[in-house]
């Protein structure tokens, strides 16, 4: 047991105390984190099996989410993967749209929108994100815990195995479990990699030597290691100690927020089922046994509750057996548990909703402003104009880029000023997708026909589409 030296505490006494507290089953309380023992070690939680309607809903939601996660890089929209983040080339393909590094500012609206959606959701329905959609929950409860249940058995069996001395059977079970975890982590890491390397190339990358793609290899290995650490051992500590979102709950929710809660008015005074005058709660501790973060929901809303609704299903099952009404533990607001009506529209909901609408509007507007074709003049460095042989010359680079569709045939046609002589380094060529091309452009105008305010205009045809590119023609003042 690790007790730091020199802490000014009598170590002997401390150790005795720790041992005393650890003897007998530990029960959740409001003063300590259930997953951390008195001596600072990880108190491994073995949630019991639970069946019920919320388990079915979660299973369906998780299946859909995992299918989306795995399938997205395989789906092709407009000749590109539905999602591909090509970091070396700085090309981002998202659902048929193509963005480059210059469009990165759009990420502001996207991230702000995601953040505000989460905030609005938390104000209305508490931590539904945590319980139903967070990758931590989906992977941990949907995959890793299932593997553990399959290999090591039910919660009491797992607990017994953890306490038992190391035997061949235990080594085989634990080793098999961690091997399965490792395979799963590797698969999940490679799926994640397919968001950055197209699936068509991924096969080659995976089968070639790690030295050929060191960055991808290190990335996958590191991700696998992190997932092993997190899903095999760290688990609920991520939600309780590291994740900042749970901590925000207390400022995002109010008495009208729908949360997982215990109806104390109905349940208290709790007592054994045969006790006279008891409330509906028979103190069976089923709600605690199934909790993945090790809390007693009957203490009320707590930071550690990830809204998974395991305790609701567990309690409903018990209520059914007793012939009592379901919903002693249920999704309701704190007002609802007090017997009051809960409101949907509160000032904070209106405020969050308005902010979200604003950001969403900004996102729609901003993305509509992103042109699939870029064409503009960039003046050459040096003097703005050159006078030579009675003519004024302006020099540009015409920067061209096609971001969507495919390669286009480009042709350039001078429009204005009249009587000017145009020289282009190229006028007819094929432009590949997402490749900048610079066409040197020289415009000479006889001094006599120059007026202040003259503009240079050219037509650039990109296949079927046409853009007019404009720039001021600069000359002497006189």
């Amino acid at each position: 047991m690790n007790v730091p030296e020199g802490s000014g505490v009598d170590q002997e006494e401390d150790l005795k105390e720790v041992k005393r507290l650890r003897s007998g089953p530990r029960r959740p309380d409001l003063e300590t984190l259930y997953c951390i023992d008195e001596d600072g070690s990880h108190h491994v939680i073995h949630p019991a099996d639970v069946r019920g309607r919320f388990q079915r809903i979660k299973k369906a939601v998780w299946t859909i989410l995992v299918v989306i996660y795995v399938a997205l890089p395989w789906i092709r929209i407009g000749g590109h993967p539905a999602i591909l983040i090509d970091i070396p080339r700085r090309h981002f393909f998202l659902f048929g749209h193509t963005f480059n590094a210059m469009d990165f500012w759009l990420a502001f609206f996207f991230l702000a929108g995601v953040g505000l959606t989460l905030i609005l959701l938390s104000a209305l329905y508490g931590r539904v994100w945590c319980g139903y959609a967070c990758p931590q929950t989906v992977f941990l409860e949907g995959f890793y815990r299932r593997i553990e249940r399959w290999i090591e058995g039910t919660a009491p069996q797992r607990e017994k195995l953890a306490r038992s001395p190391w035997t061949v059977r235990k080594i085989l079970k634990k080793g098999g479990k961690h091997f399965a975890y490792l395979v799963l982590s590797l698969v999940l890491a490679h799926v994640f990699l397919s968001y950055f390397i197209p699936v068509r190339e991924l096969g080659n990358v995976v089968t070639s030597s790690p030295a050929a793609h060191p960055a991808a290899f290190v990335f996958v290995m590191a991700l696998t290691a992190v997932m092993m650490f997190n899903f095999a051992w760290f688990r609920e500590q991520l939600c309780l100690i590291i994740c900042p979102y749970g901590r925000l709950q207390s400022i995002l929710s109010d008495p009208d927020t729908i949360v997982v809660g215990y109806d104390a008015r109905r349940g208290e005074p709790r007592g054994r089922y045969n006790r006279e005058g008891r409330g509906d709660c028979i103190d069976c501790y089923r709600c605690v046994a199934v909790c993945p973060t090790g809390i007693d929901i009957r203490f009320g809303l707590q930071l550690e509750c990830i809204g998974c609704a395991n305790c609701i299903d567990a309690c409903d099952e018990v209520m059914d057996k007793l012939g009592q009404a379901r919903g002693l533990i249920r999704n309701d607001s704190l007002n609802g548990f007090e017997g009051r009506r809960s409101r949907f529209w509160r000032p904070r909901v209106v405020a969050y909703f308005s902010l979200l609408a604003l950001v969403f509007g900004g996102f729609v507007y901003a993305t509509s402003k992103v042109e699939p074709i870029e064409a503009r003049f960039v003046r050459l460095p040096g003097p703005a104009y050159v006078i030579e042989g009675g003519k004024i010359r302006n020099q540009f680079r015409l920067r061209l880029l096609v971001k969507e569709g495919g390669p286009r045939h480009v042709s350039i046609e001078p429009l204005s000023p009249e009587g000017a002589e145009f020289i282009f380094s190229q006028r007819d060529f094929d432009l590949p997708l997402l490749e900048y091309r610079e066409v040197m452009t020289f415009v000479s105008l006889p001094r006599s026909s120059f007026r202040q305010g003259t503009a240079v205009e050219v037509w650039v045809r990109f296949g079927e589409e046409r853009r007019t590119v404009r720039a001021p023609f600069v000359g002497p003042d006189d």
Binding site: N2, D14, I36, D39, G382, I423
Partner: protein, 189 residues
């Protein structure tokens, strides 16, 4: 703080607007990150600040600059820019082919595809405005003639591509392509 069971005993004394905290122990993994950092910092301190066996950031910077300068110097020593080396390169087909590509993308708009001159002067005759020796040509391309509209290509193309295009130019000079611009500048023999 010896009886861990009593709530009152484990409550810490400070009070922030009614918010008080329990004196629970940090998770061990958390403490270990501290212990490891403390151990690490000791060795770090001894290595960099006591024994000075490792370079500090200024020494590291100076070493990197020096290494880069040495690399450039050795490159220049191996392959100096002189009339002779440039002429030598103009006989290398690979270099000339690369140079032609650079010429066709960047230079043709002013000097015409065959080098006969358009806005810019004829590059296929014996006359040169800013000097016709190989090193002079390379210099003119690098720094440009801004007043006349010749871009300073040095920062755009980089040293090696400028050498390539110079090599290409040395193969087309004195070919006097038909339809070329009239002589400008002084004759280079």
């Amino acid at each position: 703080m010896n009886a861990g069971s009593s709530t009152q005993d484990r409550l810490r004394e400070h009070d922030f607007d009614g918010i008080r905290e329990y004196d629970n122990r940090l998770p061990n993994w958390w403490l270990w990150t501290f212990y490891i950092m403390i151990i690490f910092s000791f060795f770090y301190w001894v290595h960099y600040h006591v024994l000075h066996t490792g370079p500090d950031q200024w020494q590291e910077y100076a070493a990197e600059v020096k290494a880069e300068e040495e690399k450039l110097a050795s490159l220049a020593a191996k392959n100096p820019v002189t009339d002779e080396t440039l002429l030598e390169e103009s006989r290398n087909h690979e270099v000339v082919a690369r140079g032609k590509k650079v010429f066709m993308t960047n230079c043709v708009s002013c000097h015409k595809a065959d080098g006969g001159g358009l806005v810019g002067p004829n590059l296929t005759d014996r006359f040169w405005i800013h000097g016709g020796k190989p090193a002079q040509i390379l210099h003119t391309i690098t720094v440009g003639v801004p007043a006349k509209g010749m871009v300073a290509w040095g920062p755009v193309l980089g040293a090696s591509r400028i050498r390539d295009v110079t090599a290409y130019l040395l193969t087309i000079r004195n070919t006097n392509v038909p339809g070329g611009k009239g002589p400008e500048g002084s004759e280079e023999k």
